[in-house]
């Protein structure tokens, strides 16, 4: 129930009073503080910085916002904010904001703005200059972008101060006025600048601490995840840090180790280890290595390798060392196993009765076993390393070996089970049975050749002996067979006669009986025939039968003689040949005179042999020479002899009828005669016997002859001792 009891004048007065109040309120709210408020400003700043010094880095953001509020209220601005530049200063980010209630917050929108979008502004901030804008509308043309942006945000007036840390601009703090324009006073600018610095510092500190924390975490993770034991030990040998691995190695927890003496914990010693690598490292200034044993609490030991790195203060004084500890149990075991197997291999190599060697692609020896070293005349199998075949005692075969190596290496195909020669340590010739295979590395590439061989010299010698024995046996058999063959044929011949003439005899007697009649009378007409039968045919038959039987007797006797030649015991002694020939000639005197042959005997060297048999040989030869004289000329026989390399060579030369080439080999055949039966006497075993005799006495016989000119027979025998030179 309003009654207009106040007058119009009263109303007007109320209105103006209200206006004044509003104006003063406005002043009070919006007017910047004057000089008298300087003290209050300082107090504010002091308070902010004190607060911040003690701030826990985790609460930095909170505190910044609180500070922004304090300042905002104090300086009567509508919005306070902090912006951070990116690392490359290409973008800026609104990180903290305080708005007076009723003022539109902008932070959500102002993320990752490009600094190039506000070039005028950014360049000033970057140059560590304050940006003071009392009236946005009055911004110069150069700041067109800024003007546009700020007017959009309804900012009438603003001030931004750079935040710098260690000379680098990391962002800025800004204060906006939305409601009115503000002529920012110097005091205010200064205060804001200081605040900016404080923020900068704080943020920097926060960032640094963050980075440090991250770095620490990375290292911690690393240290605790590696397989190596890592421990940080101080100069007093107390453990400062022990990673997971080392704790595991020693079956302890970190808290068991930290603060304790390292020599106690790791090696159960009461004093610093004499081999302590940490001590060495700190003394020398470089890392030190040692191999020792770690001892666990349960008494178990394990081998370790330790590398200690010294750490120094900036002054150069040592402040401790880091030990990197590796459990080398497995390594040591592997080493032991390797050594075992290496030794085993060497034992095998040195004990098998086979030579083993290996060479590289250039046929240079890289190893061998003891046996081969011995073959090569080397003291140890190490001495062969680096040598080639050409430098060893079998250099004669070097080319051959090298060629074989090359073939195996090129082709990748093994050469197995083949024979090759080798010169032995005494220069003797040896035979080997060898195998060569290509050696490949893990990738399958051929890196050289591996060879083995057996010495088969003895076996080969035996084989060769066997060969020659077999040959000799075969030859002997052949000789036997041919003797049997020839003999059986030669015996057949007289048998044919005996058989044939026996039948003739039979027939003759049949006829004689036919002629005798039953009464015992003979027909006169039959007499001539009967006469012939009795006086010619029958005697002739009988004669042939007897002659043939005699012939067989002779043949068989000769055969017996020949066979005895092999069995009779030889009496080898020096023979005075001149004397022997004289004796022979004397015993053949009759034949010599009869045939009117002239025999000349030169001076003859003595030989070694069985006198009786050698005598037979020369008798046979002289006999033959006399038998086969030529009717065309006077017979001459010459016996000569000489010594050659401890052998005596005699020659019985005649100028007889000679022997045609085709027969020269056959003369030594048993029973062979050059003339038909009946013309020249002889069973034809003379030369066969001679050959036999000489073969048994390590001699030989051969001939040279020309038909119509004459024949030379040569006899070779070992010289008597006193001739050998």
């Amino acid at each position: 129930m309003e009654k207009p009891d106040k007058s119009r004048a009263d109303l007007l007065a109320d209105i103006s009073a209200l206006q004044e109040e509003v104006a003063s309120l406005k002043d009070a709210i919006c007017k910047p503080h004057t000089q008298s408020d300087g003290f209050a400003l300082e107090t504010l700043v002091t308070r902010i910085s004190t607060d911040f010094i003690n701030t826990d880095p985790g609460r930095v953001d909170e505190e910044i916002i609180k500070a922004l509020e304090l300042i905002g209220n104090f300086v009567c601005v509508d919005r306070c904010y902090v912006f951070m530049f990116s690392q490359d200063a290409a973008t800026m980010n609104n990180t903290h904001e305080w708005c007076r209630p009723g003022v539109q917050p902008q932070m959500q929108r102002l993320h990752h703005l490009s600094t190039d979008a506000l070039p005028w502004f950014s360049s000033r901030i970057m140059a560590l200059k304050n940006v003071v804008v009392p009236r946005v509308a009055d911004l110069p043309d150069a700041a067109q972008a800024e003007k546009t942006e700020w007017q959009r945000e309804n900012i009438q007036s603003l001030i931004c101060v750079p935040m710098a840390c260690r000379g680098k601009v990391i962002g800025f703090v800004g204060f906006d006025c939305v409601l009115y324009q503000n002529d920012w006073s110097e005091q205010v600018i200064t205060v804001l600048r200081i605040v900016g610095d404080i923020f900068a510092n704080l943020i920097d500190r926060k960032q640094t601490e963050e980075a440090l924390r991250k770095s620490e975490e990375t290292y911690r993770t690393l240290i605790n995840h590696v397989d190596l034991g890592i421990t940080l030990i101080g100069t007093d040998h107390r453990i400062i840090m022990a990673n997971t691995a080392i704790c595991k190695m020693f079956n302890k927890k970190p808290e068991d180790l930290i603060g304790k003496k390292c020599y106690e914990q790791f090696e159960h010693r009461s004093d610093i280890c004499s081999h302590c690598p940490g001590t060495k490292a700190m003394a020398a200034g470089v890392h030190a290595d040692v191999e020792t044993y770690g001892i666990r609490d349960d008494g178990s030991r394990f081998p370790v390798k330790i590398r200690a790195f010294p750490l120094f203060y900036e002054s150069g004084k040592p402040r401790g060392f880091i030990e990197v500890v590796t459990d080398i149990t497995h390594l040591k075991q592997a080493e032991r196993t390797l050594e075992e197997s290496r030794r085993m291999l060497q034992i095998v190599l040195d004990n098998i009765p086979v030579r083993v060697f290996w060479k590289d692609r250039n046929s240079v020896f890289i190893g061998c076993n003891q046996l081969l070293a011995r073959d090569a005349g080397l003291k140890s199998n190490q001495d062969i390393i680096g040598k080639t075949d050409a430098e060893l005692i079998w250099k004669e075969q070097a080319e051959l070996y090298r060629a074989d190596d090359a073939k195996v290496i090129e082709s990748g195909i093994s050469k197995l089970n083949y024979e090759e020669p080798q010169t032995g340590p005494g220069g003797e010739h040896r035979w080997l049975r060898t195998n060569k295979v290509p050696m490949r590395n893990f990738e399958g590439r051929i890196i050289g050749v591996l060879g083995t061989y057996e010495d088969i010299t003895d076996r080969k010698t035996i084989e060769q002996e066997r060969e020659s024995l077999l040959h000799a046996l075969a030859a002997k058999n052949e000789e036997m067979e041919s003797i049997i063959y020839i003999t059986s044929h030669d015996l057949r011949s007289p048998l044919v006669n005996i058989n044939g003439f026996g039948t003739e005899l039979e027939n003759s007697f049949k006829k004689v009986r036919e002629f005798i009649k039953d009464d015992g009378m003979i027909d006169k007409s039959a007499l001539p025939e009967l006469k012939m039968l009795l006086e010619q045919d029958i005697p002739e038959s009988l004669e042939y039968i007897h002659a043939s039987a005699d012939k067989m007797e002779v043949l068989l006797r000769a055969l017996l003689t020949l066979s005895r030649l092999g069995r009779v015991e030889l009496k080898i002694a020096p023979i005075n040949m001149s004397q022997l020939l004289d004796e022979i000639c004397r015993s053949m005197q009759y034949q010599i005179t009869e045939s009117k042959v002239r025999i000349v005997i030169n001076e003859l060297p003595d030989c070694m042999g069985d006198k009786g048999q050698i005598s037979q040989v020369f008798t046979n030869l002289l006999d033959n020479a006399i038998k086969y004289l030529s009717p065309e000329r006077k017979g001459r026989i010459r016996v000569s002899g000489k010594v050659l390399k401890n052998r005596c060579i005699y020659c019985v030369a005649d100028n007889g009828i000679g022997i045609v080439r085709e027969h020269q080999d056959k003369v030594f055949e048993i029973f062979h005669r050059l003339a038909p039966l009946g013309t020249i006497q002889g069973e034809g075993i003379g030369l066969t016997a001679a050959q036999r005799i000489l073969a048994r006495q390590n001699g030989r016989i051969w001939l040279e002859s020309e038909i119509g000119k004459g024949t030379k027979f040569y006899i070779e025998l070992p010289a008597a001792h006193h001739y050998s030179h």
Partner: protein, 149 residues
């Protein structure tokens, strides 16, 4: 050349032409006498003795010191294999090489029945082969060979 497989028992003994001269090349006198006697009982042909391979060839080739072949006459040769100097095989092969001699039929007579020898002689174109001592049926062989003349 046909080697006679069947011996035909023949009563007729005068089949062979009696103008053929029979040569016996044989080094053993006894063997020669036996052969001659055997033949004498059956044929009247002239029989000549050649004492070894050399003499045989000289005779047939009409050279040398001794008797020589008459080109107008026909011959039949009984040849021993084992003779000194030049043996029967050698004689056979030489005969084959000479055109006017290879027509002469040769019967090899020898102590050996060794198959290799037989086939060797066959290869050298011998007309027949007989084993010593010669039996009466040898004459049949002789007649057969001569008949082909």
């Amino acid at each position: 050349m046909n080697f006679p497989q069947l011996i035909i028992t023949v009563i007729k003994r005068w089949k062979i032409r009696n103008d053929i001269i029979i040569l016996i090349a044989e080094d053993d006198e006894g063997h020669f006498i036996l052969a001659k006697r055997l033949l004498r009982k059956a044929v009247t042909n002239e029989i000549m003795w050649l004492r070894d391979g050399q003499e045989t060839l000289d005779f047939l080739r009409m050279q040398g010191q001794g008797p020589r072949r008459d080109p107008q006459r026909d011959y039949l040769l009984l040849l021993d294999l084992r003779m000194p100097k030049i043996d029967g095989f050698e004689v056979l092969s030489q005969l084959q090489k000479e055109t006017d001699l290879k027509g002469i039929p040769v019967i090899v007579i020898t102590t050996s029945d060794y198959p290799d020898n037989i086939s060797r002689c066959k290869a050298l174109s011998c007309a027949g082969y007989a084993i010593k001592p010669l039996k009466p049926d040898f004459v049949d062989t002789l007649e057969q060979v001569a008949a082909r003349y």
